[in-house]
Symmetry: C2
């Protein structure tokens, strides 16, 4: 995965959390990963396809998932129920949707968001894809973003390149 | 999800296992599910997008995953390593790719296959999507197919309808 692909996803996480949840998230150092072992309990996952194919995994600690859902639903929630699952899926969908708009040269479409729940769950990518993992901190707890994206056709030429922030 | 969407995925599982692995799989009774709790340890997951969006989950018992990988790799393997993960991802990709060809009215594209590993893992769909779950038996052990698909635009008219087998 080319490292500059990750920037639109990082901005998308920060903007989505700020706009939807009034929550400031701060990113740590992105790392290349061989596989993915989400460090958190509740992970939204969504596929991307177009001139590139890929996956976005937004992995949230339970405290972040509950606070995010409580804010979106405007009522306190203390267990990971269907409403929390829908909220995490919707956040994942918004992150992927916002990033794809900035990667228009790949004409990406998003699939349906799913939410994976469990302790010690591994979410692995094909061995020929090295995803980039970005840790974030927030006042509610930790989260990570993992993105694997592979071009399968020539991108459409763009007049202005996105500046490289990573 | 409309029940007739599931037939191309059922055929795709049977044909992929027969063609790639020389393994006869027999389907049980499809059920509508509120969420998904794969009953098996190794699950391939892939997104679909186009005029419909969705997810395919192919959940394999460890014995099926190992036997399938051994057959594809033409060498015995006894642990779920990177080769097994790649083989399960590739099987999931083939099932989704084969089914999408029979659902051409939705102009579907597949995303990247991921593989989820763990005990007691839940893979949930948005609450407004009811996936169909199909159990299969095989000489190597059990597997399940779960498919959730939602039309987001009018399908392209097709001259001949697929016969309804479910």
């Amino acid at each position: 995965m080319r490292v500059e692909y990750i920037n639109p996803f990082i901005s998308a996480v920060q903007n989505t959390f700020k706009t939807m949840l009034d929550c400031d998230v701060h990113r740590g150092v992105p790392v290349l990963k061989e596989g993915i072992c989400p460090r958190f309990e509740v992970s939204g996952i969504i596929g991307l396809s177009g001139l590139a194919i890929g996956t976005v995994v937004l992995s949230l600690s339970e405290s972040v998932a509950l606070k995010a859902a409580s804010t979106m639903l405007m009522c306190e929630t203390s267990t990971v129920d269907n409403d929390v699952i829908d909220a995490v899926g919707e956040l994942t969908n918004m992150v992927a949707g916002s990033a794809k708009a900035k990667l228009s040269q790949y004409s990406l479409m998003v699939s349906l968001p799913n939410v994976i729940i469990g302790q010690n769950v591994e979410i692995r990518f094909p061995s020929n894809v090295t995803p980039i993992s970005v840790p974030f901190t927030s006042p509610w707890g930790g989260l990570t973003l993992d993105v694997g994206l592979v071009a399968i056709a020539e991108p459409i030429a763009q007049p202005i390149a996105e500046p490289l922030a990573v």
